[in-house]
Amino acid sequence: MALTLEQIRADVADVLGEDPADIPDDENLVDYGLDSVRIMTLVERWRRDHGTEVTFVDLAEKPAIEEWAPLLGASA
């Protein structure tokens, strides 16, 4: 099942312990507490649930939802 922007936001909010409404698409998620452990959690979750092939480096390079969406093949 393909990822949606909404699902990405929900998963990010989940690993950060925040409300999805508080997670902006265009800001650096490091400022919201995103770290390598949480990125690895997302990489594994999306590989398992959605068959994505993004790597840690792909996500860590530009840690923002709008940057991730094309890498994850997500649409709004």
């Binding site: 312990g17 650096n28 490091v30 400022d31 507490g33 995103l34 770290d35 390598s36 452990v37 949480r38 690895m40 840690f56 480096v57 860590a60 390079e61 530009k62 840690p63």
Partner: protein, 848 residues
């Protein structure tokens, strides 16, 4: 390059991406290594290294080709570092191909008896060879065959050019290139970013507003200068770290993750919180700092650059007995989030606190189908202690490496710290994270049983005796033996007992009897000695002359005039001496039991102190005799201030054993010892140096333990004299014994607990400290309380003894040795500025 390799259809050796000849300046991270002082950057300690254990077929020629290609793809590796007029720069070096000087050490160890052992010896030997910074290159490889289907590939790189994340980038690319070469396909272009981008990003950051913001942040949140460490001291970082490894199984790991979820934290937060709790309990500090290694690559070009980027930041915790684990995990979460936002700024002084380093990366690389596991070999200089936690690639749980500076920890201590940390994790996972942590000690169940029960196995059934009964029995058995010597005067047991009996009968007529108190206000003398024995013979308890409960005060004419309104027995009064002389020289009748009070030290002008029973004092003397071996042939100096408990022991200890009491003739201890053939002296540590004399056989040093220097000096001056230490004063008097032996080193022991006495070393939450961990010493005794005046506020309930028991808080820091002796930790040596400044990175891999 070997001929074999040349003949292979290799698709080129890849592009050469060397730096431009003029080179590049160093980044801030590299400068920190370059400017390190102890050890300097030329030390082999700065090597970072890991090895991959590869299981399967491997073509060593193609592997060498892959290494060569990757080395040329990474321009960060092909450098040397030298001072130039423009400051230190990294300059390009030639990397020769395999067989022509490429730094690769190969060996086939299959014929060795222990191939793995031989491989580790070679890897260790490689690590001991320093890099030549000015010449380069600053990396080296090893490829060791240890089995038909097993190879160890080791990679060591100077920390000035690579960190742990960089190692992982190189390993991954090497696996990809080798796999492609074996398949005969093109490995494709190198994925690495250029060193120039790293240097550029670093320079841009240092001139940015973000840099100023970060600096402001760290000025407010700097590490505490006196942040505690488990070793309690610092030392210059060592080249090789001591390592202890443990594994957390799948189930334990799952429980840790559940614990993390239940407190809305990550499992690394839980590991930090647990280590903060452990450090706090093990050091008795409410405020602790951990070193937080940061890979420093989020959102950075450095994500694709195998270089040196990592940073270690301080992470501070406050741990009180009321703190819950949920709160601690929250502190970790908030602290790490705040640190992450300011992670690029480097502390002016490297953080020397114990580090926790969590590696969440999958390291399950395959080499043309051959699987591998990665193992860290060295993370650079070991400053104090680093706990590295790896999420194992095969999903079987966590691997925990405790790496420590061998100048500060020995293997046993390190293993104990690790065992307790893993045990603490399990108990945290079992417990309620919202309850105060007060009930959670760091000792394992086994250690708890050892320090509470095994080390305190002191129960000895003693016959119920009074202080005076054994003395009277001696007088009856050996009336002609010398009991008291003062100058040329010697009183036999028979004579001394007769004199004391006469006075006792006189005192009994005045109301001195079991349950009553009487004082003796006389200077140390034969008369005073007789008076003390007389009060005890009458059944009275000895007390001070200002105790309002005293029935009478035995004194002399001069002192009687200074005493308030009290019944005085003036031994200078002819009427009194006549009355005493008129008494028969036989023991007075009395109904004295071992439970009656014998001595009170806590009386002041308006209040009476609690009485110490006969049984307590006599039990202490029996124990002392057992430990020190006093016999009837001994002559014991009685020199402590008259009226003190020590003075009472100096009198009754020898008399209950049939030995002779010697009174000093002047202030010169050594002279009295020499002239009167004294064999035994009880003293405190301030008097040790003044002792001497050829007759001396044993010295009993009471109170606080003397210094190591004082003990060594004693052994040198008096090699044939036994030195016994009896620890404790006041309520804790006679709590422990140690016989010093020449050649002992380290802190002077307080010793092992006395009979029927339990000693506890407890942390701030009153939990028992394991051996080696300093806490506060508490004394619990089955004997009734000593009852000294100030004891009340220091008496608390004993949670480990029989119900209703009490323990006395000494205020003394102490710790158990592994074999059940107590010792006082050596005073903390102030951290040398150099050691503190240089004790930086120990961690190779880094996250979050």
């Amino acid at each position: 390059m070997t001929t074999t390799a040349l003949e292979r259809p290799v698709s080129g050796s890849g592009p050469d991406r060397r730096l431009a000849p003029e080179g590049l300046p160093l980044t801030a991270a590299q400068s920190a290594v370059w400017h390190a002082r102890t050890p300097g950057p030329g030390s082999p300690a700065w090597a970072t290294a890991e090895y991959l254990d590869i299981r399967g077929e491997l073509d060593p020629e193609l592997f060498a080709q892959a290494l060569y290609r990757v080395a040329r793809e990474a321009d960060t590796l092909g450098v040397r570092i030298a001072d130039t007029p423009a400051g230190p720069r990294q300059l390009p070096v030639d990397i020769p191909p395999p067989g022509h000087g490429f730094p690769l050490h190969t060996a086939d160890l299959r014929a060795e008896r222990d191939p793995m052992g031989a491989a580790h010896a070679r890897m260790r030997a490689d690590l001991a060879v320093p890099f030549d910074l000015a010449r380069g290159p600053l990396f080296g490889h090893g490829l060791l065959r240890v089995g038909e289907q097993r190879w160890l590939w080791s990679q060591r790189v100077h920390h000035a050019v690579l960190d742990g994340y960089g190692h992982s980038l190189l390993a991954r690319r090497t696996a990809d290139v080798y796999t492609a070469l074996v398949a005969g396909t093109d490995p494709g272009p190198g994925p690495f970013g250029r060193l120039a981008a790293l240097v550029e990003e670093d320079a841009a950051y240092r001139g940015s507003a973000a840099h100023d913001r970060d600096r402001e942040h760290w000025l407010r949140h700097a590490a505490d200068d006196d942040a505690p460490t488990l070793a309690g001291r610092t030392a210059p970082p060592s080249g090789t770290a001591l390592r202890s490894t443990a594994h957390l199984g799948t189930e334990e790991t799952a429980r840790l993750r559940e614990l993390a979820a239940s407190v809305r934290a990550t499992w690394p937060d839980v590991l930090f919180a647990a280590q903060a709790l452990y450090l706090s309990r093990a050091t008795g500090s409410e405020r602790v700092t951990l070193g937080l290694p940061m890979m420093g690559r989020m959102g950075s070009v450095a994500l694709r650059i195998p270089g040196m980027v990592m940073n270690v930041l301080p992470l501070r915790f406050t741990v009180t007995p009321d703190t819950t684990f949920a709160e601690l995990a929250h502190q970790a979460d908030l602290g790490i989030r705040a640190a992450r936002r300011h992670q690029r700024h480097r502390p002016a002084e490297p953080v020397r606190a114990p580090q926790v380093n969590v590696m969440p990366f999958d390291y399950g690389l395959t080499f043309a189908g051959a699987p591998s596991t990665a193992h860290n070999l060295s993370g650079g200089p070991a400053a104090d202690l680093t706990v590295s936690v790896y999420d194992r690639a095969d999903g079987t749980g966590l691997r925990v490496d405790h790496d420590a500076n061998p100048a500060l920890y020995d293997a046993r201590e390190l293993a104990a710290h690790q065992r307790r940390f893993v045990d603490l994790l399990a108990r945290l996972a079992d417990g309620d994270p919202h309850r105060p942590l007060a009930g959670l000690g760091i000792a394992t169940d086994e250690e708890r049983a050892r320090v509470l029960t095994e080390f305190n196995d002191t129960a000895v059934a003693l016959p119920p005796t009074t202080l005076i009964g054994p003395v009277e029995a001696r007088a009856a058995r050996t009336p002609g033996a010398p009991a008291l010597v003062h100058g040329d005067l010697t009183l036999t047991y028979g004579e001394l007992n007769a004199r004391a009996s006469r006075l006792a009968r006189h005192l009994a007529g005045l109301g001195v009897r079991p349950g009553a108190r009487a004082a003796v206000a006389l200077g140390l003398s034969v008369r005073e000695t007789v008076a003390v024995l007389a009060v005890l013979k009458a059944g009275g308890a000895l007390t001070g002359p200002d105790d309002p409960a005293a029935v009478c005060v035995v004194t002399d004419a001069a002192t009687s005039r200074t005493l308030p309104d009290v019944l005085v027995v003036d031994l200078d009064d002819p009427a009194v001496t006549a009355a005493v002389a008129g008494q028969p020289p036989v023991d007075p009748g009395r109904a004295l039991t071992p439970h009656h009070g014998a001595y009170s030290a806590g009386s002041t002008g308006s209040t009476s102190g609690t009485l110490v029973p006969h049984a307590t004092l006599d039990g202490g003397l029996r124990w002392l005799s057992d430990r020190c071996g006093l016999t009837a042939g001994d002559r014991v100096l009685r020199h402590a201030e008259a009226g003190s408990e020590a003075s009472l022991r100096e009198l009754l200890w020898p008399l209950r054993e049939g030995a002779t009491v010697v009174l000093p003739e002047n202030g010169d201890l050594a002279r009295t010892v020499r002239e009167r053939g004294v064999t035994t002296v009880r003293c405190d540590r301030s008097q040790l140096a003044a002792l001497g004399g050829s007759s001396l056989r044993r010295v009993v040093c009471e109170g606080d333990a003397p210094s190591r220097e004082a003990v060594d000096a004693f052994h040198r001056a008096l090699p044939d004299v036994a030195l016994h230490l009896v620890y404790g004063a006041g309520e804790a008097a006679g709590a422990a014994h140690h016989r010093c032996e020449p050649g002992e080193r380290g802190p002077v022991p307080l010793g092992r607990p006395a009979w029927n006495t339990r000693l506890y070393v407890l942390d701030a939450a009153l939990q028992p400290c394991p051996p080696g961990v300093t806490g506060e010493l508490y004394v619990a005794a089955d004997r009734p309380a000593h009852g000294h005046g100030a004891a009340g506020e220091h008496l608390v309930g004993d949670p480990f003894g029989p119900p209703g028991g009490r323990m006395y808080r000494t205020g003394t820091p102490a710790r158990w040795t592994a074999d059940g002796r107590l010792e006082r930790p050596a005073p903390t040596t102030p951290a040398s500025a150099d050691a503190a400044a240089e004790a930086g990175r120990t961690a190779l891999p880094e996250a979050p």
